[in-house]
């Protein structure tokens, strides 16, 4: 990438111009995209970087929305054949010489690597400080493993009939795991600090201490119970519960597939204390962006408004097929992949309850302080998510830690069963996978309680 991105702007403009020249009557919209990224990716273990790869890439893509769906074509090379590979275009338009050129060995892309765009020293320093912090927290901490992605990425998107726009997608996302051992027992801590922008915006000391604390707590864990209990879920990353249980079925492609919330707009789906918003403008959150991957201006979308289903998350294809305006949620892992309707930052609006009062109001239950990931079956709303650090609540007090376990239920029972919403909103980071594409997502919100969920226990 050159410093001002002029080459990418021109490439995107020329793809757009090709699309315009090739316009077909069955196309409803067409976009061109170019993304350029440099990523430091690797693993840190035994107090040093174990593997590290610098990635540099430039991808380009064209996509056309039709009444039936989406056609796309993408490549790592700036080839004029890109538009020609869309169905119904190639054989009609491209001269044989151009098709032959496509199968030839690659020549220079004219793309250059800017070595100083890789802040390796900063990343190394961050990891060492997190490692020192974790190890000094407790002598039972044996190992810190960090998988890191430090990304500088810009995208250029052009829409037929419009201009080319640019968006910055730089972020840092670290998966930290600590292994603690004591008297033959092994426990792990898990934490995923992430931030939009530079890794300098993450505190390594806090991160190291936090993940170590989680692992050490696991050493005292007793088996998790099995059965239905009230579950209090910590804010921030805990909002993964709503991301999985409630919001995946609100994505346009799932609505088209008759998800559990299909045809429910305007109906009461949740307790009236529940307002959920998809907001790509949260400062520092990893799911934030200004323009989605199809050139639609990012916007705040109210999904559930005081218990009433108020909106769906759509991209260009699904908004067209649902007869809606795109909500600006067309996202992809890179321009090599087709956009899908995806969440940005899932936010539960804060309520009035003090978190301590929520615990005190729970006679017997589970406190899910930290959670891992989750999964949902969109058509039924059945979900499952992993509690990586949990505690028993007995007589309104937080008691013994419990082993990692799974909590499951349906999205509708979660939304209707939320009986407390805290006033302590926090921002968490996660990665969401869908059809093989991973994108960073924010999870934002306070402590909450669901009156009854199925806790999966621990091995017998």
């Amino acid at each position: 990438m050159d410093r001002d991105g002029q080459a990418e702007l021109e490439l995107c403009g020329s793809l757009l111009s090709e699309l315009q020249k090739s316009w077909r009557s069955d196309w409803r919209s067409a976009t061109a995209a170019v993304d350029v990224g440099s990523t430091i990716r690797g693993r840190f273990v035994d107090s040093e970087i174990d593997d590290l790869t610098l990635h540099t890439s430039r991808h380009s893509a064209v996509r056309a929305v039709t009444d039936a769906g989406l056609a796309f074509s993408a490549d790592t090379r700036p080839t004029s054949d890109l538009v020609g590979r869309l169905p119904g275009v190639a054989n009609d338009r491209l001269p044989p010489a151009a098709r032959a050129a496509f199968s030839a060995a690659p020549g220079s892309t004219g793309f250059s690597v800017l070595a100083d765009s890789f802040p390796i020293g900063d990343v190394q320093q961050w990891l060492r400080r997190a490692d020192e912090s974790a190890r000094s927290y407790d002598p039972r901490v044996q190992q810190l493993i960090a998988e890191f992605d430090v990304v500088r990425r810009d995208i250029w998107i052009g829409v037929c009939g419009g201009d080319v726009v640019r968006d910055d997608r730089s972020l840092a996302y670290i998966v930290l795991r600590v292994i603690a051992r004591h008297n033959g027992k092994v426990a792990t801590g898990f934490y995923t600090p992430g931030v939009k922008g530079s890794i300098d915006n993450l505190d390594p000391i806090d991160a190291g201490r936090e993940v170590a604390k989680r692992a050490v707590a696991g050493l005292q864990a007793r088996p998790a119970p099995t059965g239905r209990f009230p579950v209090v879920i910590g804010g921030g990353r805990g909002i993964v519960l709503l991301h999985e249980a409630c919001c995946h079925p609100l994505e346009g492609d799932e609505v088209l597939r008759r998800s559990v919330y299909s045809g429910q707009l305007g109906r009461v789906v949740a307790a009236d204390r529940v307002t959920i918003v998809d907001d790509p403008s949260i400062p520092d959150a990893v799911g934030s962006y200004e323009i989605d991957d199809e050139g639609v201006q990012a916007q705040r979308t109210v999904l559930v408004d005081e218990g009433v289903l108020a909106g769906y998350l759509t991209d260009r294809e699904t908004s067209h097929r649902l007869g809606l305006v795109s909500s600006g949620n067309g996202r992809c892992n890179s321009a090599l992949h087709p956009p899908l309707p995806r969440m940005s930052n899932t936010c539960l609006m804060a309520g009035a309850s003090d978190p301590a009062d929520i615990i005190a109001a729970t006679e017997l239950g589970i406190y899910a302080e930290h959670v891992g990931g989750g999964e949902v079956v969109e058509v039924t709303g059945q979900f499952v998510f992993r509690v990586t650090n949990g505690y028993l609540i007995e007589d309104g007090k937080i008691g013994d830690p419990i082993s990692e376990t799974t909590i499951s239920g349906t999205g509708t029972e979660v939304l209707r069963g939320i009986d407390f919403v805290g006033n302590d909103s926090r921002v968490g980071a996660a990665r969401c996978g869908k059809f093989g594409q991973w994108v960073p997502v924010g999870v934002v919100g306070p402590t909450l309680r669901v009156s009854s969920l199925l806790v999966g226990g621990t091995r017998s």
Partner: protein, 439 residues
């Protein structure tokens, strides 16, 4: 001159040795639903993954092929200077191999094949099938400054089939299928596999009956077992052993599993749909027994960790999806239980006890791959002694994969392939006695 030769030349000009692993990947994707092709796309990826070595240091860069070779090598050298001392240079006999793969285009889906799949996905009165097909052709070149120049070509086709049936309840069953080509995959899907998956979904769509009493006989379908057993993928490498994150860390020869269980990594086995002659470091592929009759035999090793552990390479150095520097992972992990196959019906007749057949799991990907602890949400079929089969939904199943290894005695003979990240895992359905089933 190929791009890899440009890279090697640029490294030479800077007094460095280089290795270039180039990947040319052509992909097609179809999404077929309700009798329509909903999405179609073509993607081309040409990446060069370069390591440059100066003295005892080595750095890695993955870039789009065609990027300025001098700048790529400079960036790799810059990385090398920030990393700890590298493993000793990999010494390989200079050789040139062109292992040409299949000549038929495995990414080509003939119009009649497409029509067959479109027909299969036609909605029925109570159900629908969605197919996500992905076909890819990969050409790999591995070359280095010492004259190594290897090439192979391979194909892989994958389908995610999501079957939804709306009966008394809505049931959805999703499974991934793999084959060496889209034509093979079409044949696989249309020759009974999709019908069997649809039948399970149909059974799950009946009204669920409560699981009134604990059930001692639990059969875990291969679809679920292969996912549970994939928790072992990160634990069977020498890196996990050295980094103290493998619960299999024991002296070789220690009993770590049931005497009936054997585990091997073998990409040449007919169960593996992806055929490659060597790993991403150029080490030839061979069968690696990991556990034989319950006894620990060895760990997988790439070049770096073979040196650290003082063992030989096992052909297990693989790059990540983005061409990251090679790390250890299995190519195709195979679980074999040495006993006659016992189906749910066989066990029912033999033992006179009800059998819970767990056919669907959600949330397995969140299990703990260090401790081996897992718990997932599940649906199953309860085979009663009077011959009835009822549906049980909303189960939670918890356990530990290392306990499972130690207690597996029987299987159902129904092998299922699963892909965990970039590794394949094949397992039959297994009879498990160490699971906590909650409802």
């Amino acid at each position: 001159m190929g791009y890899h030769e440009d890279i090697i030349k640029a490294a030479q000009a800077r007094g460095a040795a280089a290795e270039c692993w180039m990947l040319d990947r052509r992909m097609v994707e179809y999404v077929i639903r309700d009798g329509e092709v909903e999405r179609f796309g073509r993607t081309g990826v040409q990446r060069a993954n370069v390591s440059a070595r100066t003295g005892s240091r080595e750095g890695y860069v993955s870039c789009s092929a065609g990027t300025d070779p001098g700048q790529v090598v400079d960036a790799a050298i810059m990385t090398a200077n920030t990393l700890p001392t590298a493993a000793e240079a990999l010494t390989r006999t200079p050789r040139t191999e062109d292992v040409t793969g299949p000549t038929a285009d495995g990414t080509y889906l003939a119009p009649e094949g497409l029509q067959q799949l479109v027909k299969t996905s036609q909605p029925t009165q109570d159900g629908s099938i969605e197919l996500r097909l992905h076909g890819e052709k990969r050409t790999v070149i591995l070359a280095d400054s010492d004259g190594l120049d290897l090439t192979y070509r391979t194909y892989l086709a994958m389908a995610t089939a999501r079957v939804t049936v709306r009966g008394a309840v809505v049931a959805q069953l999703t499974h991934d299928y793999f084959a060496p080509s889209l034509q093979n995959l079409t044949h696989l899907l249309c020759s009974g596999e999709l019908a069997a998956q649809s039948e399970h979904a149909r059974l799950l769509s009946r009204a669920s009956q409560p699981l009134a009493h604990p059930v001692r006989r639990v059969l875990v379908h291969g679809r679920v077992a292969s996912r549970v057993l994939s928790l072992l993928c990160p634990a069977v490498g020498a890196d996990a052993l050295i980094q103290r994150r493998s619960m299999l860390a024991n002296p070789i020869g220690t009993a770590v599993a049931s005497p009936k269980l054997s585990v091997a990594d073998d990409m040449a086995d007919p169960r593996c749909p992806l055929r490659v002659p060597w790993d991403d470091e150029g080490t030839p592929i061979a069968r690696v027994p990991l556990i034989e009759a319950g006894l620990l035999k060895r760990f997988l090793a790439d070049h770096r960790y073979a040196q650290k552990a003082g063992t030989g390479r096992t052909g297990s150095g693989w790059r990540g999806e983005g061409g990251e520097m090679p790390t250890i992972r299995p190519g195709c992990l195979l679980f074999d239980v040495d006993s006659p196959a016992v189906s749910a019906q066989d066990a029912l007749a033999r033992d006179g006890e009800p059998v819970l057949h767990i056919v669907q799991a959600n949330g397995m990907h969140m299990a703990n791959d260090v401790t081996g602890e897992f718990s997932f949400a599940a649906s199953g079929l309860l085979h009663h002694v009077d011959g009835r089969v009822t549906t049980v939904d909303g189960l939670t199943v918890a356990g530990n994969v290392y306990d499972l290894l130690r207690t597996v005695e029987e299987h159902d003979g129904n092998e299922v392939l699963w892909r965990h990240e970039l590794s394949f895992v094949s397992s039959p359905g297994i009879w498990a006695s160490c699971l906590a089933v909650g409802r």
